[in-house]
Amino acid sequence: MAQPVDAALARSFGLSAEEFATVLAIMGRTPTLAELGVFSVMWSEHCSYKSSRVWLRTLPTTAPWVIHGPGENAGVVAIGDGLAAIFKMESHNHPSFIEPYQGAATGVGGILRDVYTMGARPIANLNALRFGDPGLAVTRRVVDGVVRGIGGYGNCVGVPTVGGEVNFHPAYNGNPLVNAMTVGIAPADRIFLSAAAGIGNQVVYVGSRTGRDGIHGATMASAEFGADAEEKRPTVQVGDPFTEKLLIEACLELMATDAIVAIQDMGAAGLTSSAVEMAGKGGVGIELDMDAVPQRETGMSAYEMLLSESQERMLIVLRPGAEAMARAIFEKWELAFAVIGRITDTGRFVAVHAGVVEVDIPLDPLAEAAPLYTRPHLPPVPRAPLGPVADPLGIEAALLRLVGCPDLCSRRWIWDQYDSTVGGQTVKRPGAADAAIVRLDGSRRALALTTDCTPRYCLADPQVGGAQAVAEAWRNITATGARPLAVTDNLNFGNPEKPEIMGQFVAAIAGMGAACRALDFPVVSGNVSLYNETDGQSILPTPAIGGLGVIDDAALAVGIAPGAGDELVLIGATAGWLGQSLWLREIAGREDGPPPPVDLAAERANGDFVRGEILAGRVVACHDVSDGGLLVALAEMAMAGDTGLALDAAPEGMGAHEFWFGEDQARYVLAVADAPALLDRAAAAGIAARRLGRCAGTDLTLAGGITISVRACRGAHEAFLPNWLQ
């Protein structure tokens, strides 16, 4: 027996009393169940960005090279040769905890669709992952499933997974983060948008059939579905990368014709959000015939079809007369193709099922009255200065422990499960350089891609942490020789209704915005994931940044591996900052103090200088200094180059542990043939620089007789993940 549509049901759908009152005012009557479903998903945090929108607007989003900033399915930037890079990052956090394999797999599928729906062939995937305490069995299960899921989907669709990042922290125990990023390429003058147009034009559904996957759980609690509720329960979304691959090829084939007026993937909130967004953006109405929707299961209601999140589906508005040609393409690829509606001039979203009008909603009020909140926010409390910290362990033991700890150990076990070469354009694979380098087919030009965030900095000081995440992405691109162009972001936070959490969000955005402005690195797309909490315990604030840059000649890109005889030079100033460093956490056992300050002017100056050196062909290898500090960066270079390093003494005036393990920002280690010449040029440019030593032998040798074998480092570095997971 159907439950009445009232404020109580609305509440179980996630709508507040005021929001439901607005629904009643818009409709002028009691909405149907399906209508309530439409309002609830369109006004959900996920679709409406009601808590974050006012703050997102403060981010810089423009630059001469930006073609489409936020507001489309993905961001679009010009990269030269008449080409555009299209990219975005998106989260699949909650599903990945419930079912790690499928959650991660469908996360990859979802972000791919956001990119190829704009006309791009996807050429690279990346990811940003945060897991809980490695001491817990559940963490191992989640890591194993997520890694298999990302590989299972990405490998099958044939898009190389070229980079990513991983952190571990107990704050993610009940709430891992799986953020997936896709980058695609399209001709800059053939970008496909989602705004519907052309009264009477056909609305076409393509891809997989619709099942009862992932329909909003709360709604299922209603008695609507009677005794067979168990059978009709919402189910976990299962990804079908084979169908996705066919859908990519079919869509790109259709996009090469002039058949498409508008196209939009069915992502969160499925058919509802794609239909509403396409019509809303085009300022038209849309009418759907739910009987025509290709269905996988029998007896589905309009409500279920409208809210289903079945994967691998797209909605297309076709130009008149294009149906037969479009149908032939999708049938060739053995995909469902159905005309399910048309564009109208009513400004309304209408859905008819079995002769009954199940939905009839005016679109303008649905969009304009969407809730928008400036939630109370408490400014974060600054951390007290750290003060002096004695070295309890010594340099050698600390280095071996650091390079083997979960946050710094080799990620080889992970990337060895990702196909990183398919496509035949991967110039720098995972581990080879600070950013992945993927060449453009038939061109010398290549993209540099990275994902970055240091959540422990963000917790200690969200504003500095937000700026640092952007700066590190920019630095990683710069360290290859590429020119950073733009970022996508994935803002993962806790419950925005808590003023402290909202305060973290506001501060992180302020930091990000400042860094993006200072570095000419605008935000062109992104995603917000809130309510990442379990039992009232929030995750660390995690504004993950996906960075994209371009290098005009891929042959000039450098990696992190130096060769025998190279000299090593540090660019950037070192104060020996131990606050929030990994050394402090792993060796001194403290998560304390403020994070290292981010000096955006120094970032810019140092980075521009380093890039100039690389593009002049004077740099053999380059690595930025981040987690773990200078000695960890050097050890990583030694391991990559399979060479020892003879290092000069640490400077007077600071502890050796401060010099070697401090995490001061804006620094790079360069391997060059001629260090004195580089130091001269740096001095002339007013850039802090310091000779570090040279590549020699098979060990790291430090002044004072400390010798650390590179082999031992590698042993420690490579051990953790395989030992833990095999």
């Binding site: 059978e231 976990v236 299962v238 169908t243 299961e297």
Partner: protein, 82 residues
Amino acid sequence: MKVAVTVMLKDGVLDPQGRAIGQALTTLGFGGIGEVRAGKLIELELAETDPERARARATEMARRLLANPVIESFSVHIPTEA
């Protein structure tokens, strides 16, 4: 004794593999094929000799490891031949 655990995707969960097999069979010229579902069969040789206890242990194994309760259901049986 031998125990077999059958693990299938729950009803309503998309089974891309089953779907692809069904299509391939149809392409091969087999007609009249409705839904196809693909699952796993795990055969265990247990030291246990009492059928009821063997069944109970296999059920416990399925619950803890062999099946993923979020998307799969399972059943346990003792193969008649053996």
